[in-house]
């Protein structure tokens, strides 16, 4: 069964939005196969916090409503639980489409709340610096910027993490940092579309 959308020569890029999202997704997304059944939204644990259920979001994409789709908080609320993925009768790679929409929203600067994109970016910064995740640096930077009011209630937990030796104050750096950086620098120049 084909999963390719019908080619179009329409000059309006929004007409090809569905195709673009699909092409930028890691595997074969099967996004074009969505039959709007709503199984995804009905399976989604945090759906009530989303602007659109996944089904609604896919309808926006299909309608070429680029800005509305990329500004939706839905991909940022998605917890990657894969309930919808295993239930989808059309086997759409829903969670991976959400990752694609996040990266496109960052590129287009269309996200409404910067908490989640900042967290991801800070996490990535740590990984690109040390080759490993660095929770202490990530947590302090993130909480100071986005949740200063949560700090008093978080302090005992943070302290617990340290005394239980579940968090290191100093980061761990891999030996092959130069190699990893060379790989990532090259990767940043590449796209799958």
């Amino acid at each position: 069964m084909t999963t390719q959308p019908i080619p179009t020569n329409d000059p309006n890029p929004n007409v090809r939005f569905l195709e673009e999202v699909s092409a930028r997704t890691a595997g074969v997304s099967r996004l074009e196969m969505c039959i709007q059944c709503g199984t995804c939204g009905g399976s989604c644990p945090p759906a009530e916090d989303m602007d659109h259920t996944p089904r609604m979001l896919f309808a926006l994409i299909r309608a070429g409503m680029r800005e509305q789709a990329l500004a939706s908080n839905t991909p940022w609320i998605c917890v990657s639980c894969y309930h919808c993925v295993v239930r989808c009768p059309q086997e759409v790679h829903i969670a991976d489409v959400m990752y694609t929409l996040k990266s496109m929203a960052i590129q287009a600067k269309l996200y409404k709340d910067s908490t989640a994109p900042d967290f991801s970016q800070t996490f990535v910064d740590m990984v690109e610096t040390y080759g490993r995740s660095y929770e202490f640096g990530l947590a302090t930077r993130h909480y100071l910027k986005h949740f200063p009011m949560r700090l008093p209630s978080m302090a005992p937990m943070g302290l617990g993490m340290l005394t239980k030796k579940r968090m290191d104050i100093t980061p761990k750096r891999i030996e092959g940092m130069d190699q990893l950086n060379a790989i990532l620098e090259r990767a940043k120049t590449l796209e799958v579309v």
């Binding site: 960052i106 891999i174 990532l184 799958v192």
Partner: protein
């Protein structure tokens, strides 16, 4: 001894140290040898995938390439962390499914003198190896202290049973593997309906109220079924349910006290390993009482608090009047 290539992941060295310790304490008993990938890097968790596609897969790709280069007697990579397991499996799967992704990832890897042929490694989770390679009969034969009377809620979370590219599990939403393993240890296993529901993942960091609700559902269900402890296979699940339980309780004005342990800790106890070697005491919600009820003594704290030794046994020098001798000298 069966030999495997091991990808521990960042959490095993920090937040899930108890998982690492208990795994190290039992792998000999199980007859599995774990050879760590040399100089592995972070898998990117769920964060890098949402930022930039090719770098995210290249980051995972470096681990796969290093593992493939190191592989000799075994081509099976075992991951203990759910997110790491899924990322490794996902990269391998999608690079096979979409050749252009493999091409780009390999172009990036080439900048570091590496390459990876998708499909050349077998990516498996630790629980899968214990169930299918070691086998429940072997596990049962190693039990010296059955966990009789301990009511356990088996909790797998999301990323081990789903999306399950290679169809390794009995079911994507209600798999029974962990239940059977815990039963083999002699525990009383509850039929936990939320066994593969989400712990909130990274939402504890970016949308706490969303996460607290997901954590509350798990705690309430485990509590309704009168579980003594939850047993998990995932560092993130353990962290969210354990370290954020107090904040969840504050948010909902509830009073849940549900300890959550790694399944390897319970295996260690049943195999008769000293609980001190199994990372007990690192959990926020203490398992001491629950374990005590079945006659297993576990430390409540990590190590006894001892005052650091002072250089001078007498403490700080005190001022003295002229002509008076300092009693402390």
């Amino acid at each position: 001894m069966s030999k495997y290539i091991f990808y521990p992941g960042c959490a095993m060295e920090t937040s899930a140290r108890a998982y690492n310790e208990s795994l190290l304490a039992i792998h000999d008993v199980l007859g599995i040898e774990l050879e760590e990938i040399r100089d592995w890097n972070c898998c990117g968790a769920t964060e890098y995938l949402g930022i930039n596609l090719v770098p995210a897969y290249a980051l995972i790709g470096r681990n796969l390439a290093l593992a493939a280069r190191q592989a000799n007697s075994s081509r099976t990579v075992v991951a203990s962390c759910s997110a790491c397991y899924l990322n490794l499996a996902k990269a391998d799967h999608y690079m096979t499914e979409r050749p252009v992704l493999s091409e780009k990832v390999n172009e990036a890897l080439a900048a570091g003198g590496l390459s990876y042929i998708p499909g050349s490694l077998e990516i498996r989770h630790l629980l899968d190896v214990i169930i299918h390679d070691v086998g429940l009969d072997t596990v049962r034969s190693k039990v010296v202290k059955p966990l009789k009377g301990l009511r356990v809620a088996p909790y797998l979370g999301c990323m081990v049973p789903r999306p399950d590219y290679k169809k390794r599990w009995s079911d994507a939403e209600h798999p029974t593997e962990l239940d059977l393993l815990l039963k083999a240890l002699g525990a009383e296993v509850i039929d936990f309906p939320l066994k593969t529901h989400c712990c909130g993942g990274h939402m504890t960091q970016i949308g706490p109220t969303t996460a607290f609700e997901l954590i509350r559902r798990l705690l309430q269900s485990a509590d309704q079924f009168k579980a003594d402890v939850m047993a998990t296979v995932c560092p993130m699940c353990q962290m969210n349910v354990d370290a954020y339980q107090a904040e969840t309780n504050r948010h909902f004005h509830t009073n849940f006290k549900m300890p959550i342990l790694f399944f390897t800790q319970l295996m260690g106890v049943a195999f008769g390993v000293d609980p001190i070697k199994l990372g007990f005491g690192r959990e926020f919600v203490k398992a001491t009482e629950a374990m005590g009820r079945i006659g297993i003594e576990t430390p409540a704290e990590l190590e006894p608090k001892t005052q650091p030794k002072r250089k001078k046994p007498t403490g700080l020098p005190m001022p003295t009047m002229p002509g008076q001798t300092n009693q402390e000298e």
